[in-house]
Amino acid sequence: MNKEGRGVMIQGPVQERLQISPFMAAYVIISMQIGIGVLGFQRIIAKDAGTDAWISVIGAGLTIHIIVWIMYKICETVNGDVLDANVYLFGKIIGNSINTLFIFYYTVTCAAVLGGLFEIIRTWMFQSLSSFWFAAVYLLLGIYIVYGGFRTVAGISFFGLVIPFYLLFSFGFALQYGDFTNLLPLFDHSFIQLVKSGYHMSLSYLGYGILLFFYPFIKKPEQSKKFVHIGLLATTFIYAALAVITFAYFPLGLLEKSIWATLEMWKIVRLPILERFEYLGIANWALILLPNIALSLWVASRVTKRIFHISQKKSVIFIALACLIIVVLISTRERLNVLFDYTALVGFALAYVYTPLLYFSLLIKKKVKAK
């Protein structure tokens, strides 16, 4: 694939000074994958597969590699992003109609992430936190990042992973009190149960679909593949390790009642100058979730720009306003859960149904055209 001719269909190629280095692509993808899910995925996956769920965590993690491989193929075929692919396949009108759906999907994702963060902070730290003001300030931050261009967004993704990295060590405290016999007996669950658990896990993994949108911003996409796959493995490893530690730490009966298992594990951390470690963790989560917000805003505003030819500076403000309205409306835990379930479902469908279908259609269309 020639590098210069990328994204030719709707607009010119991305300038080199705006692009990110290949290995930074991995950070963008991991930062989008790690979100609210990390704080409470253990209970959900344990519902079906019990303490064997860590197998599902690894299994679901491995399926992502196939999806990401397909995503790379799609982008390579059209020399651009998924918007190009849709327009190439379905023509301008239908293609762009499909692309419009992405705006909604990422706007709602952004709102869901923000709603989730707000919910955690309100439950654990500030009962009186105003959802409007918090979301407004946070979205303002998101707009400020998006205004800096994709490089700034990628920078936030990088720091959003590197700075809170120390939190991983805190799980060592839980490890001290863990009882690994909890995990026994191994392989006690049927394949169907594991698959069900894997399905739930795959929802926590979502976010790698962002690759379809920022592919033209990678300097040498060919080289980025290995970094992205290593990154995906790292995410899988973190989730799996966290699952194992959680299963060792919590008896299964207690885990069923722990909505935020990860946060509860932090309660055991005790340092000479610091107690209630989860406060620090939650404050850090405001940084870890920032890439999710910034990337969602960036994708939604970029798609708007590409389809409707509005400047991204304006469109990102509209999208942030839409997010703000959604966040204020979903003030209860029940509504938030509904939103979570739907965005996860759509995300799952996009990754596991839409992406392969798109790729096969592209292959067929290419062959037909060649003839």
Partner: protein, 518 residues
């Protein structure tokens, strides 16, 4: 002979020359030289006290000639000793003869009257000869230069003890002495309608990236300002984001630092009248490097750099954390420590934020008062403020002594930043953090931090990312950023500068390893 010159000068002085209005429009060609004629430019100049015009006769040829100059801009000793005697005693008939006659190298001939005021302002002496259209400019500028002294802002215990002065020629001299190569280019620009400030852009040809040089040159020639007082004007005007509290060009008073930056492939901007050179492009980490780091062993230097990094974070974060924890998250403090804290805060009638703001503002007041007052008085202010005010406010029950310790430590930590401009920035950074900590506690601090991070990510210095080498991540450039690795590992120039020649010296030769007993 000097006496003779002086006496003649006194006899025929210029100011009582009647002006002839008619001649103002007369062109240069038509005009026959006469002492009764004055031109437009001269009319204005004669109002100045230091404008001198003297008339002489050449003793051999009998030719009449005049010398016009500004006495404040011309070295009169040179004139008296070297220029006037040959002009009076030597033989000359035309203006061209003057050039041969004078022992001064820089003599320019001209016949355009437009140049006259400008040349006089540069410290030239104008010589006109009776019956000649041409005139000569004799260079004899007066140099009022402060002698080179030790660096005061970037003081170092070991290493060179010279700092830049206000004269640009002297500064370039100091740099050239350290880099005696022909590749060192110093391009000059004149900036400012009124001040006509000389600005020099220095770089090493064949090392520095052309893009940087062009960016700097472009920005200097686009600059619109009538008067330039100091190089810090430049930092503000030509930097990438003028609305950022962060300086985006590094200023230094050390010629050695400038030299090493040139060798790395950076561009230097020197401004006449300013004892500070500007270095660009730069990155955030460089503002926390002192040049003394290179004079110490790399282990010590790295340790000191890490201490500085810690102290910057501490200085910004400690009081916001105090506000956040004491206001919202007192559960985070272990029981034993909580007792100490509560005891010290028991009598304080204010909420933590007011208590902190009260002390922070006091510290800012002390600093500002200390900076504005003469040195000796300033020291007294420091003692009065630091000891008396601090102790008194604790005894009066206005603040807790735990906070007093924290504030004092934070102030101390903020002084470790080696670059003055950056330490000013750090001073103000904690206030937004304090406000956010008061509103949303730890979450507020995180959000303020995210804003700061985004701002830093968006900043560029001459088009190069400011957060380098952390983002974009360039692991190789860490060798001289947060750490300072030994010189033998510094064989390559920093990657981010994209230099034409990336190798500083041969790594193989420097790293030659010997076996035991060889």
């Amino acid at each position: 002979m000097a006496n003779l010159f002086k006496s003649i000068k006194h006899i025929i002085n210029k100011k009582n020359i009647p002006t002839n209005q008619k001649d103002h429009q007369s062109s240069l060609v038509k005009r026959e030289y006469s002492k009764d004629q004055t031109e437009d430019w001269e009319k204005e100049l004669t109002k100045s006290k230091d404008y001198q015009k003297s008339y002489y006769f050449n003793q051999k040829s009998g030719k009449k000639f005049t010398l016009t100059y500004f006495s404040t801009l011309v070295e009169e000793k040179v004139m008296d000793n070297n220029a006037v005697p040959p002009l009076l005693e030597g033989e000359f008939y035309t203006i061209a003869d003057v050039k041969k006659l004078l022992p001064i190298a820089d003599v320019e001939l001209s016949n355009s009257s437009n140049d006259i005021p400008e040349m006089l302002m540069k410290g030239f002496v104008m010589l006109t000869l009776e019956g000649e259209k041409e005139f000569a400019f004799i260079s004899s500028p007066k140099q009022v230069v402060r002698s080179v002294s030790a660096p005061e802002i970037e003081f170092s215990v070991v290493g060179p003890k010279e700092a830049f002065v206000e004269a640009i020629d002297q500064n370039i001299n100091m740099i050239r002495k350290r880099l005696p190569i022909k590749e060192l280019i110093a391009e000059q620009f004149i900036v400012g309608k009124l001040s006509l400030t000389k600005v020099c852009v220095l770089y090493i040809k064949g090392i520095t990236n052309k893009e940087i040089i062009n960016t700097v040159k472009q920005r200097i020639s686009d600059l619109e300002k009538d008067e330039i007082a100091d190089s810090s004007y430049f930092t503000q005007i030509i930097s990438d984001n003028g609305n950022s509290p962060f300086p985006q060009l590094l200023d230094t008073e050390r010629p050695d630092r400038v030299t090493s930056s040139l060798a790395e492939g950076k561009v230097i901007i020197l401004v006449d009248g300013s004892p500070h050179a500007l270095i660009g492009p730069t990155s955030l980490t460089e503002f926390f490097n002192s040049f003394e780091d290179y004079f110490l062993n790399w282990i010590l230097a790295t340790f000191i750099r890490l201490i500085r990094l810690f102290s910057v974070i501490f200085s910004i974060m400690v009081t916001p954390l105090y506000v956040a924890v004491v206001t919202y998250h007192y559960q985070m403090i272990p029981k034993d420590l909580l007792i100490t804290l509560v005891t010290s805060r028991r009598v304080v009638p204010f909420p933590p934020i007011l208590e902190v703001l009260f002390l922070e503002v006091t510290i800012e007041l002390l600093r500002e008062a200390g900076a504005r007052l003469p040195t000796k008085v300033g020291q007294t202010i420091g003692i009065v403020g630091g000891i008396v005010l601090g102790t008194a406010s604790v005894e009066a029950g206005l603040t807790s002594n735990v906070l007093l310790i924290l504030i004092a430590l934070a102030a101390l930590a903020s002084f470790t930043t080696p670059v003055y401009q950056m330490s000013n920035t750090i001073r103000i950074l904690r206030f937004p953090f304090l406000i956010m900590a008061e509103i949303w506690g730890l979450v507020g601090i995180t959000i303020a931090f995210c804003f700061l991070l985004t701002h830093l990510l968006r900043l560029t210095s001459l088009g190069f990312p400011f957060m380098e080498p952390v983002f974009p991540l360039r692991v190789k450039d860490f060798k001289d950023a947060l750490f300072r690795l030994p010189f033998k590992s510094q064989a390559k120039r920093p990657q981010f500068l994209r230099t034409k020649d990336s190798t500083r010296f041969s790594k193989e030769k420097a790293n030659k390893k010997k076996d035991i007993d060889e």
